[in-house]
């Protein structure tokens, strides 16, 4: 009982005596006079008074809720991978158009992780997360002069200035960073296009030249040289539009892109996602073909006549003659959900690429939708770290919790029986406990997981990890419970229970165990943290839960190299902080609980 409440009760006693005289006092019962708390209440109060453990509890509960509720909103697609989005630093400014560019955008070209903008006065701006090489190799504005057209590919960009000179910068693989000889002399360039490791120019007289990764794109203009008006580059193909509105394949080999539908009529615009091509006929009808994935062929009901079309990596965006915007295709980053503000606006032009869309309205403002960036960055396979962190946390905590439940049940049962019965049973169970305690944990778990784990399914494997953790970590609790039961069984209430003829098993589990429950709870809390740590260590080494299922441990698995540690810090710092914070909080809670249950432990 704290001093404060004592004071209060004496005060109220005096007060009531003054008011009601002596009579009132007789009616207060013993319990009211001397406020008695149940042990549970005392524990809760002690715990609440401990600021450190309360902070730990609040942080842990918050993490727990995020991790268990979060996956319902941020759904994890286990098979998802995206090469173009690898190792992007935490950002939310992939679509943040520089303020200088706002109001006079001429063109925006979108690369995998960056965007390049061109203003009406010929200045080039880059934003987003371009690779370092991209920034280093970019020609200065003075060098380029007044730029009239830009294009952006996976990790390179092209610019054409008013004198017809072409610039290329960014990644230099496949000589993308420099211009081939037959392009250097060309001055009458009309269109420039950049795709997945490929660049193409189209001249005024209808000729097209391409260079880049010819292993993937077998670029071949063939008989159409001289008739080309526009080209689009998909991830493994090039499609052209002739001056008389015919769609043609610019590849040697036949593939999904080159199976061009016959009934297109006169085509006014074409666009390509990574795998599919869309053509707009002069009647405003959109036709999609190619390797159809992610619903890119589900063209919505369009009111009006489509006049131009743009494409991202897996989506299309079209605008109609009355300035309406429509998007369809993959929607994992909301890139094909046109916000209502844009549906209402009068859109002049739209630029799409990868997962971003920029719509330019007739009054010059820039509206965007699509992928803003990754709050916690992306990992080595282009997956969003936040999604994996949340789902990984759920798996880590679930495995830890189930392992603790298993080990607690075994530990309490064996410890209880051993402590109560003593004698030969005790002797046998204690030897058993010593054998299990003697097993070197990590090597043994690694072997079990390697030998048993590679012939079972992934879900069974996760279950196996839980069981291994549970089966190997009960001895310490068992010893503790045994010692406690040992002390409790000599007390009077046990003798009383025995005298009443209560069955022995019932005495252990119904009469004695409730008295040692606090020890069990504290121990289970601390074990929870260590189970999480062990699971993470196993997964980190590659013997626990394996990809693509995320846990906080195996998210760190890829970071075992100097390059990742230095360059892609978010890939290891973020899961490490999450794991560390969770285990620290749990241990602080466990410590606080122990102090709250046994105030003597603080004195010691």
């Amino acid at each position: 009982m704290s001093k404060n409440s004592k004071k209060k009760s004496t005060l109220s006693l005096i007060f009531s005596r003054l008011l009601f005289g002596q009579k009132e006092r007789v009616e207060t019962s013993v319990l009211e006079e001397e406020q008695v708390h149940s042990p549970m209440k005392t524990i809760v109060r002690n715990f609440k008074n401990n600021k450190l453990s309360m902070t730990g509890l609040i942080i842990f509960v918050t993490m727990f809720l995020i991790v268990f509720i979060g996956p319902n909103f941020l759904k994890l697609d286990l098979s998802y991978q995206e090469v173009t989005q690898q190792n992007i630093a935490p950002t939310s400014s992939l679509m943040k158009v520089p303020s200088k560019l706002k109001g006079h955008v001429k063109q925006i070209a979108i690369g995998s992780t960056f965007s390049v903008g061109l203003s009406d006065d010929g200045k080039v701006y880059t934003w987003g997360k371009p690779k370092e090489k991209m920034i280093k190799t970019m020609p200065s504005q003075e060098e380029m002069g007044k730029v009239v057209q830009i294009a952006a590919g996976l990790d390179h960009a092209l610019a054409l200035n008013s004198e017809g000179k072409l610039f290329s910068w960014g990644n230099d693989r496949f000589h993308l960073g420099s211009l081939p000889l037959d392009v250097q002399g060309v001055t009458n360039i009309k269109q420039i296009a950049a795709g997945y490791q490929f660049s193409i120019i189209v001249t005024d007289d209808g000729k097209a030249f391409g260079w880049g990764n010819t292993n993937v794109i077998d670029f071949n203009v063939g008989k159409y040289q001289g008739q080309i008006d526009k080209v689009v580059v998909a991830s493994s193909g090039v499609i052209g539009l002739t001056k008389d509105g015919k769609v043609i394949s610019l590849m040697t080999k036949e593939n999904g892109y080159s199976r061009i539908p016959q009934d297109l009529g006169k085509v006014v615009d074409i666009a390509s996602t990574s795998n599919a091509i869309a053509a707009v006929g002069d009647d405003g009808k959109v036709t999609v073909w190619g390797n159809i994935t992610k619903n890119v062929d589900k063209v919505p009901q369009i009111d009006g006549k489509v006049v131009s079309i743009a494409a991202g990596r897996y989506h299309f965006t079209a605008i109609t003659d009355d300035g309406k915007t429509y998007s369809w295709g993959a929607n994992n980053f909301k890139q094909s959900t046109v916000p209502s503000s844009i549906q209402k606006a009068d859109v002049k032009a739209v630029f799409s690429g990868y997962y971003q869309n920029y719509a330019i309205t007739k009054d010059g403002s820039v509206l965007t939708w699509g992928l803003k960036g990754y709050v916690f960055g992306s990992d080595g396979m282009g997956r969003d770290m936040l999604t994996r962190l949340i789902s990984g946390g759920r798996l880590t905590m679930t495995i830890g919790a189930i392992a603790v439940i298993i080990s607690t049940i075994i530990g309490v049962t064996i410890g209880g029986i051993s402590g109560y019965y003593g004698g030969k049973i005790d002797m046998f169970l204690m030897r058993l406990q010593e054998v299990v305690a003697g097993i070197p944990f990590l090597p043994f778990a690694m072997i079990l997981s390697a030998i048993v784990g590679n012939r079972i399914s992934e879900t069974q494997r996760i279950a196996l990890i839980m069981v291994i953790l549970g089966l190997l970590s009960w001895p310490s609790l068992c010893r503790l419970v045994r010692a406690q039961v040992f002390a409790e069984r000599e007390k009077e209430f046990v003798t009383a229970a025995k005298a009443m003829g209560v069955k022995e098993n019932l005495i252990v589990f119904k009469h004695i165990l409730p008295n040692v429950i606090s020890v069990i709870i504290v121990n289970a809390t601390l074990d929870f943290a260590s189970a999480m740590l062990t699971e993470s260590t196993l997964s980190y080494l590659g013997f626990g839960v394996i990809e693509p299922n995320p846990t906080w441990g195996n998210m760190l698995n890829g970071s075992n190299s100097g390059v990742v540690i230095q360059e892609y810090w978010w890939r290891w710092v973020i899961p490490a902080v999450a794991l560390g914070l969770a285990t620290i909080c749990i241990n602080i809670i466990g410590d606080g609980l122990r102090d709250a249950i046994d105030p003597k432990s603080q004195e010691r």
Partner: protein, 326 residues
Amino acid sequence: MLKYIAKRILYIIFVFFIMSIIMFGIFKMVPGDPAAMAIKDVPKTDPVVYQQKYDAARERLGLDKPIPVQYVSWITKMLSGDFGYSESYRNDVINIVKEPMGNTIFINIFNVVAALLITIPLGIVQAVKKHSKFDNVVQVGTIVGYSLPSFIVSLVAIYFFAIKLQIFPVSGMNTPGFSGTGWEKFLDKMYHFALPLIVMTVASLGSMTRFVRAAMIEALSMDYIRTARAKGLTEKVVIYSHAFRNALLPIITLIIGWFLGIFGGSVVIEQIFGLNGLGKLLYTSLQAQDYNVVLALNMFYFVIAIVGNLITDLSYGLVDPRVKIN
């Protein structure tokens, strides 16, 4: 005392056999047919000849005998130091294990000594000045210490000391192409060992310090401490001679248990820092599915655990005279 030791040794032999049976059982679960592996060079063109050779291989490997007989022959081989042949290293397992074992034992002993030199004084100071600001700060620090897995500590250490400050190498055992006298070679090796040793020591401070503190507080609350103080002994004598000696008993148990634990735990450190130790060997052998090496390594870990248990029991007897009686 002799009877006590004999009893413990008997018991430990018993435990060893149980563990070896468990290991043997797991080993039998390894997918694949060892007999087919042994004759994989024999062409399968003639099924009759192949079958003959296959049966011969089965007989040679003892696979045609019942499981208990196989176990007996296996354990006899193990006990005589024949751990089999490693497919991936093309050498006898016993030859492969020698060098890594030296490294692992070295880093673990170094770790224990270094950690004890830090934690024992720290724990004592905490216990003496309990609930002071210093104590509270260290208490929180130790919670953080034992809550962080060693691989996170390693990553942080590599980031700061190897990459940013470039004081230590990122990984490896020695500078590639290094030549020099024996002493210079040793210095080079130590230079590579420095960061993993620091990390291991730091990672093991947390739980150890807490334990020393708790044991010391327990000892300091005893009546004989009050008596010692009442006699007018100096505080130094009270703490180091009276209290610490009595706190030693639980500490010894912990040290040994922990010593065993870090043998397993150094798998992580060896793997991260690329040290040629048993842990790394276990890791690579598991990856390469070289189960003869894996089995030998696990038997080593078991023996370490068992010997550790024995030493704990015996040292109990030495430190605490009361144990001898029962």
